[in-house]
């Protein structure tokens, strides 16, 4: 099964880090990415720009309403994701726990929707 591991973290915390700490964190993510690649589980990944760059769009009365800012106004924002292929939820949780994001923020693990005929018996 494919799982999206979403990294939620407080952007204010990143801003408060010193240069050394930032480098350390980036290195931690690089190492994590490397281990995902070596294990051949990673399907895709990306780091996102700050939530301050986000734009929220919805159709109101047939017209697009465009708003500055992220959809949810919480302190912890989606900062990036890894898309992985894992045999089951336990394996996905194990990978999520290894991600540096689990230490400085929180990881949300979500299975990818598949058409029923594609999903059978992958466990």
């Amino acid at each position: 099964m494919q799982y999206l591991l979403m990294i939620y973290s407080a952007e204010s915390e990143w801003k408060q880090l010193g240069d050394g700490e930032r480098q350390q964190r980036v290195a931690a993510y690089q190492a994590y990415t490397e281990s995902l690649k070596k294990a051949e589980v990673v399907v895709g990944m990306n780091r996102l720009q700050h939530a301050s760059t986000a734009t929220t769009v919805r159709i109101i009365d047939g017209k697009p309403q465009v708003l500055d800012g992220p959809y949810s106004d919480s302190k912890e924002q989606l900062a990036g994701y890894y898309l992985i292929d894992a045999p089951n939820l336990d394996a996905a949780i194990t990978w999520a726990a290894r991600c540096p994001g689990a230490s400085h923020g929180a990881m949300e693990v979500r299975p990818i929707w598949t058409m029923p005929y594609e999903s059978a018996g992958s466990a």
Binding site: M1, Y3, A86, P87, N88, L89, D90, A92, I93, V109, P111, P116, Y117, E118, A120, G121, A123
Partner: protein, 421 residues
């Protein structure tokens, strides 16, 4: 072949055999049917169809020699039909056919037992903690939503919705039907033990067995604990849990006198306890201790053992009891343990020492509506001569008691207090 023909009423016999198989094998059959698909709800549907077919078929043609195998054969055929009907695709059908072959080729009497994996799936940390015990009751034991709802004081509709949600999550999020690896096992097993103990506690709250549903729950919990020990005979905490439950069960009837009044442990007659159950509990605890890995349930069982020993020999052993409570508080601190520990402390060092030990919990919201806390406080205050405060605590305890016998007991205690006028 025909067990039914022995009886004049084939319908009744077929039904009672079906019920016996359901009780013994329900979880085993669900585990086998859902193992690969992870679709517990579909497995339950197929099994319900198979039981209905059995009730129609067995009175006519006689009960099969191997009812469990018969039900499994019908259920997986239904499951395959259901999957084909939904046109979900060949892969799932293949899985089910593979499973069918596996069963046909193994001795039909010895269907593989995957209930342990099912127990781990039902108590997976990714599921809402509050639904794990009800889920286990339904999926492993086949209890219906109505029974579960009444045990958990909620509506059948509400519990059904939450059970469905949990089953959907197991299927869609890929919760595995596996026994966790060695390093993960203790933590995951704790959730299984917790859930089984949760079943027992629900059953325990009905002391006299007036409420048949709850009374049965204590039996179902013992069944699960026995099952767990069968599946994990080397696990000290599984042994400890079964031991603890047998200690409690052995004293179950002694908690009421002939008139249905509450009898506290100190006033119980050890001769009325179930000696065979106590022996079994003692043996399990000894067996657990040979592994030299201490745990919460072993400590709780050891406490029960100490209480039983003291009552039987009439020799105070409060030092030993306090040591066990201290170890338990260090391992699994909880305000409930603090209350029980304080009562033991009172026996050793007097009521004031116990009240001092409880002082840090005075504002603990977890104890605010915990009836035994207020009953303990009332008792300790009364013994220390703080009559006015004791009366207030008795009021609280009486107001929070849900068991009429306990309420009467507390009311009598309060009435015995010296007048404060």
């Amino acid at each position: 072949m025909s067990l039914c023909s022995r009886d004049g009423d084939p319908n009744g016999t077929a039904r009672s055999i079906a019920e016996a198989v359901a009780r013994r094998s329900y979880g085993k059959l669900v585990a086998l049917l859902a193992m690969r698909t992870r679709d517990v709800a579909a497995a339950e549907d197929a099994l319900a169809d198979a039981f209905a077919a059995a009730l129609a078929d067995w009175p006519q043609r006689g009960c099969p020699a191997n009812p469990e195998g018969w039900l499994m054969t019908v259920a997986r055929r239904r499951a395959i039909d259901a999957v084909r009907h939904r046109r979900i695709g060949d892969e799932l059908v293949n899985e089910l056919v593979l499973l069918a072959d596996e069963i046909d080729h193994s001795d039909a009497r010895a269907l593989p037992d995957r209930r342990l994996a099912l127990l781990f799936a039902c108590t997976h940390p990714a599921l809402d903690a509050a639904i794990r015990t009800p889920l286990m009751l339904q999926v492993v034991l086949g209890l219906d939503a109505k029974t579960i709802a009444s045990a958990f004081l909620t509506s059948p509709a509400a519990i059904s919705k939450r059970l469905e949600r949990a089953k959907r999550k197991i299927r869609d999020a890929g919760v595995p039907f596996t026994v966790p690896e060695r390093e993960e096992l203790p933590g995951r097993l704790a959730a299984v033990l917790e859930a089984i103990y949760g079943v027992y506690s629900q059953g325990w709250t009905d002391p006299v067995g007036d409420d048949t549903v709850r009374h049965d729950l204590a039996g179902e919990a013992l069944f699960l604990a026995h099952l767990l020990v069968d599946l994990l005979p080397e696990d000290p905490e599984a042994l400890g849990l079964l031991s603890l439950m047998l200690y409690s069960q052995a004293r179950r009837a002694a908690r009421r006198d002939a008139e249905g009044n509450y009898v506290p442990l100190s006033a119980q007659d050890p001769a009325t306890w179930n000696a065979r159950m106590l022996d079994a509990a003692e043996g399990l605890l000894r067996q657990a201790s040979t592994h030299q890995v201490i745990g919460r349930f072993q400590l709780e069982a050891a406490l029960q053992s100490a209480h039983v020993h003291r009552c039987q020999t009439r020799r105070p052993n409060w030092d030993e009891v306090m040591q066990l409570y201290d170890a338990l508080s260090a391992l699994a601190p909880s305000p409930v343990i603090a209350v029980n520990r304080a009562l033991a402390l009172a026996e050793r060092d007097g009521p004031q020492a116990a009240l001092d030990a409880l002082a840090p919990y005075a504002d603990d919201p977890r104890l605010a509506d915990y009836q035994p806390y207020w009953a303990a406080r009332a008792e300790l205050l009364a013994r220390s001569g703080a009559t006015v405060e004791a009366l207030t605590s008795y009021e609280m305890a009486i107001g929070l008691a849900s068991d009429p016998a306990v309420r009467r007991f507390l009311q009598r205690k309060r009435a015995q207090m010296p007048s404060t006028a």
